[in-house]
Symmetry: C2
Subunit: 477 residues, 2 copies
């Protein structure tokens, strides 16, 4: 450890106590920091000066003030489950990782107001369970829910499978408590659905990936728990049909439509190949849609509505076949098929992931045009196209041609592949990061592809709120 | 006109043409600017150097650049229907009013993506009608919809009667086009429901009342049009019952619940007194709730759901009586009762309005406590309590005691009355401006009652995005 850091470490130890500060090193008794220094996909490995684990908001503010006084930068960290390298330290060994994991209390649940106030380190699954125990729903749901934290969900504006109905993490949050770069505490924990008193600080911090302030608690929106759910798989010949099916489902189910996922045949073929034990109820089709509706009335009402929708879709020749889940296990099995695609991809070999968003109406043209452009540039390339069609969010992933060494092929062509994909995304009015954020991974892509006016505004805001540049430097901007 | 302004006027005339620049004055041929200089309630009268009426975004950028070069400030204006003095010039005669009214084109409607892109000067009613012509719904709805503009709605984050289901103007907007204080154009007209590429500039401009940038166009969310609506009036003995009725209605109707308004007996008594021709279908009751549900299925389904809800409410003794509208005219008549309250108040005499928001669960205690505190401090004071209970938004208005000269009473006691009301609002975790914004009216209240940390962050952002302080100075901050 450098001499100039010793005073900071001493001050942090005195503030947080032994349990609140982990200091790494090679000696016996030094802490193992690897869980904080390495992301779960093992893509971003850094080295931290120390890991601060404050127990409350005042301690977070204290850590920030001490770091500011010493000119040492901070990397806020929740469950460390992000996909873009936003929460691990750089390699310098001079950054403090600020882990919110000890701040995981439920502060208040107000059933009449449909709000839940929790600390940033609360695990998403715990938040869901806290709501469910009162027969209420917190609808944010994503693969990492067993280990990601609500603070990280908000810092990265997480999406997931129910955005279609309930919105992203941003739309599920009414208020925040934030420690600013100056170490002040902003108590914006509002349980209000209307509040026009000045600039929207809440939404500025949400999605800023810890670069503007540190979220320490949040007041979240809850919903009445639906009494019934229906899930089905439906086969479409084309993406055009899938988009028309979406319009039909929206018109007939209204806001009862809570899931609308699409998968191409190659992605489900990979699942068949690597997970043959998973039953696929329909014969192979160019595209498969996973539909879900949630209902406030009854099982019978949900079923009648759902069957009416599928009959209308068959009649309009938007789908060629459909399988309705007859039980909760069957419904889970359909979702499990969808969720197995990334795992099947990993089994198949290295691949390139693109988390993109497009206007729903532009998706068929985007996919057919970009599939063709990639096939022409790289004969034999294999496309794993799936995602949340209802929100216009595709996971548009690229697998190397069969028989080629995937690592070699991808490292050689990744830049050219990304250029084809992202150029097409921008040409169709889309976004190069739908729900995963920017972090380190897409920082250059962001600066290259976002409007210079927007980048200029973002830089001015960063400079205004974090003039020393100590909050998660090198991320986003 | 001062000498130093002549060059600016000449440059603006050359940029905008004669039709694009209105210059006031006392001479024959000078334009009458009073429609731009005075708000519709005639509370805020100012004097403009000139009114710029650009025809397109490039002209808006040109106006901003010219004003910046001359150090002249700008007051953006839409329909000039605001309630807090946010869109009229000050008395100096040195500000340019920037009217967006000529920029009112529909740029695009994408039915499959459920989005509509319009220019800022489009009248809200026109936007609603454009969506309706495609059998789609743009749900923002408020009293001024025949003359307010979408740019003003977004700049002030308007609320209205369907926030419960569809959210405020903020939640209905996917993307913006904004001219910055530097006269640059940010094209953020996204039709995307997921886009995690950097800071949320959209929501920073929304609700900033023209102090951070000038909204020139927006991409709005559309919804499938419900096929049926049901409206009813229900009588409650207490606000507690009304809050329990809200929970019941949410649980049974889910997101089908699109309206939940509450009115106290005194407010409906004023309507009876001043508009005796309006039929009130139920006998007087301490509180009256106006409920509305919207349904994606059918009239019959909506009716069954609604009647089941009201029966359950009667059985649980949450309501003592209910009247269901049997036709569209009857439904309009119920809404008309609710909308006549502010007019009846005006007929009754001068009054003080409070547009406040509270957690729904806190409303009964707030109202009983504050009603009592006001009655004790000012015997005979009359409370007009009504509003959007579903969003926690009350219009908590004060009428002078019967027989007193209202003007004299109110001017003498307004400060003390506001202190009692706003102290109680803050004590219950509420907001002193739910949907009307800050403007000039509540600027001091904001600085006095908002957290100093929040005010500091807002000032830093204002300084960063408008360093010359030329965009709507003296509003919000």
């Amino acid at each position: 450890m450098r001499q100039e850091h010793a005073a900071l470490i001493e001050a942090l130890t005195s503030l947080l106590g032994e349990a609140g500060l982990l200091i790494g090193g090679a000696k016996a008794g030094d802490a193992d920091l690897s869980a904080y220094e390495l992301d779960w996909r093992r893509r971003y490995a850094g080295r931290a000066l120390a890991v601060a684990r404050p127990a409350n908001t005042e301690q977070v503010a204290g850590v920030v003030k001490l770091c500011a006084a010493h000119g040492v930068s901070l990397v806020p960290q929740g469950g460390n489950t992000g996909l873009v390298g936003g929460s691990t330290p750089d390699a310098s060994g001079t950054q403090i990782v600020l882990s919110l994991s000890r701040m995981n209390r439920v502060r208040a649940l107000d059933a009449a107001n449909l709000t839940l106030t929790v600390e940033a380190g609360a695990i998403l699954q715990t938040v869901q369970a806290t709501a469910a125990a009162q027969d209420l729903l917190f609808p944010l749901s994503l693969a990492a829910e067993g280990s990601c934290t609500i603070g990280g969900n908000l810092a990265s504006n997480a999406g997931g499978t129910q955005v279609l109905r309930y919105g992203n993490a941003r739309e599920l949050c009414l208020g925040l408590e934030v420690v600013t770069a100056a170490g002040e505490v902003w108590d914006g924990l509002s349980g209000l659905r209307k509040d026009n008193t000045g600039y929207d600080l809440r939404d500025l911090f949400i999605g800023s990936e810890g670069t503007l302030g540190i979220i320490t608690a949040a007041t979240l929106k809850l919903f009445p728990k639906p009494v019934a759910k229906m899930t089905a798989l439906a086969a479409c010949d084309s993406l055009d049909q899938a988009v028309q099916l979406l319009s039909l489902a929206r018109a007939r189910a209204g806001s009862g439509l809570t899931g609308f996922e699409v998968m191409n045949e190659f992605s489900l073929g990979l699942v068949r190949k690597h997970f043959p034990q998973l039953q696929q109820p329909l014969a192979a089709s160019a595209w498969m849609v996973l539909l879900e509706i949630s209902d406030a009335e009854s099982e019978a009402h949900a079923r009648a509505l759902f069957e009416g929708l599928l009959e209308a879709a068959l009649e309009a020749e938007l789908i060629s076949d459909a399988a309705v889940a007859e039980s909760l296990p069957q419904s889970h099995a359909l979702w499990h098929l969808r969720e197995s695609i990334p795992l099947a991809q990993a089994e198949e070999g290295l691949n390139i992931k693109h988390d993109i968003a497009l206007p729903v109406s532009a998706i068929p043209a985007f996919v057919s045009g970009t599939d063709a452009a990639l096939a022409q540039a790289f004969p034999g390339i294999r496309m794993v196209d799936f995602g949340h069609l209802g929100d216009g969010n595709l996971h548009y992933n690229v697998q190397a041609p069969e028989g080629q060494a995937a690592g070699e092929f991808l490292s050689q062509h990744e830049k050219a592949i990304n250029a084809i994909v992202y150029d097409a995304v921008v040409a169709h009015g889309g976004s190069v990061s739908a729900e995963h954020g920017i972090g380190q991974l897409k920082r250059e892509e962001l600066v290259a592809r976002k409007s210079p006016v927007a980048i200029g505004l973002m830089r001015a805001i960063k400079q205004a709120l974090d003039p020393q540049g100590l909050l998660n430097p090198g991320r986003v901007l």
